[in-house]
């Protein structure tokens, strides 16, 4: 009864639509990336220019700067989100204070559900130099008001802060789910051997945490590669190019400078990184499903 024809009919709509909206634009982008394609300067024409766009991307210091900044941003936010998330997960896995723990679980959903563009708006308000909450904390400790979003280093910090606020709950919820998967009797058997919390964590709980953690790390890396909304709203990549991550730089070249040939080449180069990440993700997590 499991006829190939039926299978194809079930698959056809999804395959057709994804080919149309996923693959066709991609091929179009490849085409554009191999041409002179500045829509603000149509007089230059739209001729093939081979790999000239790619060459200029590779020679473009700002592109490497944006890529470096994206990596720096990853290194700033991911370990922090991991550490805070793990702390929260262990806290919520604890036995005491059921009401507070239930409240915290509900609260964790809030940042995750908040529209990233709105996270950017909240960031603008919170880090405002005149009346922001951040400066209120600074003045509480006796400091002077700081122009957070006007200073290159502090602006990056402010953006990273909001990103950490939004995504720490993701780490926390995933690790909490993994912790609840630790068999209770295995944990209790281990407590007969040792009373040291660290050893219990390292040898009993950690192995259960590892798969979920890997999933989150890969997904977050891919997400930061395409991070746009919150940063765009909060700083537009500024001051200067201090918070111009790779997707913001690509957007600026494509839609404010309107050199879409160069922008397409940059977008495709960053796509290669995400495809590698996607491959790793699937290799690790769907082995048994696809076998």
């Amino acid at each position: 009864m499991w006829k190939t024809r039926d299978r194809n009919l079930f698959l056809a709509p999804a395959v057709l639509v994804l080919a149309l909206v996923g693959v066709a634009p991609l091929l179009f982008a490849v085409n554009v990336s191999l041409r002179q394609f500045n829509i603000a300067k149509p007089s230059l024409g739209f001729e093939w220019n081979g790999f000239a766009n790619y060459v200029s991307v590779f020679q473009d210091g700002y592109f490497w700067g944006a890529l470096g900044l994206t990596v720096q941003f990853l290194l700033m936010t991911i370990p922090l989100q991991f550490a805070l998330g793990l702390g929260i997960a262990l806290l919520l896995h604890h036995q005491d204070w059921p009401l507070l723990r239930a409240l915290a679980r509900v609260a964790l959903v809030i940042p995750l559900a908040t529209t990233p563009a709105v996270v950017g708006l909240i960031g603008r308000l919170g880090f405002d130099s005149d009346f922001g909450l951040a400066n209120w904390v600074v003045t509480l400790f006796g400091g002077a008001k700081i122009a957070w979003l006007g200073d290159p280093n502090l602006a990056l910090f402010a953006v990273a802060f909001m990103e950490t606020w939004q995504w720490t709950p993701f780490f926390a919820l995933v690790m909490l789910a993994s912790l609840s998967a630790v068999p209770q009797d295995a944990f209790e058997a281990a407590t007969l051997e040792t009373d040291r919390r660290w050893l219990l964590f390292r040898y009993v709980e950690w192995p259960y945490l590892l798969p979920g953690l890997t999933a989150v790390l890969i997904l977050r890396t891919a997400d930061v590669m395409k991070l746009f909304d919150s940063v765009y709203v909060m700083t537009r990549g500024g001051p200067g190019s201090a918070t111009e991550l790779v997707s913001l730089y690509t957007q600026r070249i494509g839609f404010r400078v309107f050199d879409q040939g160069i922008a397409a080449a940059m977008a495709l180069l960053s796509l290669i990184v995400t495809i590698l990440l996607a491959r790793a993700y699937i290799r690790i997590f769907y082995r048994e499903a696809t076998a």
Partner: protein
């Protein structure tokens, strides 16, 4: 975290009941840390809602005002003068339509992937999921050019279609698990009774998979509702979605913070309610089923 006297392991009563020592004496440190965590998570959100309800003077006050007389003037202004109501309707139309389409297109594919085995399945699998990893900027460029050619810029249907690139993979991955958990004998029994495969799918398997479908629908709605990059590039005044409208107030020096935050609250509140409803499945949705 806890002090360990070396003799602890030798003491049978404590060793067998390790949790007891927490239960005996409430650990206040943990309560305090929990409260700090909750405050840190809720504060930025609360600050947005508070700013939307403050008078202009209270928003701009320094030191910030924590207690104030609430006003709904910014909501009235946002909805009546700034036309945010129209933007919210746009967002609603786009999110609901793309979600329904993603369900109609995605669930049959998930069924096929859950039930049939064939040689190229792995590649198809990889291809469908890899759409989730696609950076929107890669698609935004060609979509902009194509939509411009076809006169479909500033058209909500363009967004509906483009959002399928991330909603179909999501629906496929979330419902497939659900289909796998339904014994295949049920399908086979129905076919023996004379049902076609299409009837088996729509009348028997799909209703049994309702929980997975609902989770897929809600998450797909949330992701579409929250999206901004495509909407920013592909729409102008008439077809603006709510997140784009909220950010469009951010120009000039004298920002209308009350209206901005009222719009932000209008956008975020329904999402948070939906997300709370599916909070148990949020992790599964965000990790494409890799973490249960």
């Amino acid at each position: 975290m806890t002090p360990n006297p070396p003799a602890a392991a030798l003491e049978p009563s404590r060793a067998y009941l390790p949790k007891k020592r927490h239960a005996k004496r409430p650990n206040w440190l943990i309560a305090i840390v929990l409260i700090v965590v909750i405050v840190a998570i809720v504060l930025p959100f609360y600050w947005m809602v508070a700013a939307s309800l403050k008078s202009r003077a209270d928003v701009l006050a320094f030191p910030p005002v924590f207690f104030f007389a609430p006003t709904v003037e910014h909501y009235a202004k946002a909805l009546l003068e700034a036309g945010v109501g129209k933007n919210v309707l746009n967002s609603l139309f786009v999110s609901v339509t793309t979600t329904l389409l993603a369900l109609m297109i995605g669930t049959p594919a998930a069924y096929a992937l859950a039930r049939w085995e064939w040689a190229g399945k792995k590649d198809l699998w990889f291809w469908i999921i890899s759409n989730r990893f696609m950076s929107p900027i890669v698609l935004a460029l060609p979509f902009y050019l194509i939509a411009n050619q076809l006169g479909m810029l500033n058209n909500l249907l363009t967004l509906v279609i483009i959002y399928l690139t991330f909603n179909i993979p999501l629906v496929v991955w979330l419902t497939m698990d659900q289909f796998r958990n339904i014994p295949r004998e049920i399908d086979e029994a129905a076919v023996v009774d004379g049902a076609t495969m299409f009837q088996v799918f729509t009348r028997i398997v799909l209703p049994l998979a309702t929980p997975g479908v609902v989770v897929g629908a809600i998450l797909s709605f949330i992701f579409s509702w929250n999206e901004m990059l495509f909407a920013l590039i592909l729409t102008r005044s008439e077809a603006r979605t709510a997140p784009v409208a909220a950010t469009s107030f951010m120009s000039g020096y004298d920002l209308p913070w009350g209206v901005i935050m009222a719009t932000g609250t209008i956008i975020v509140l329904p999402v948070i309610i939906f997300a709370t409803l599916v909070s148990r499945h949020l992790v599964r949705g965000l990790t494409l089923g890799a973490v249960k």
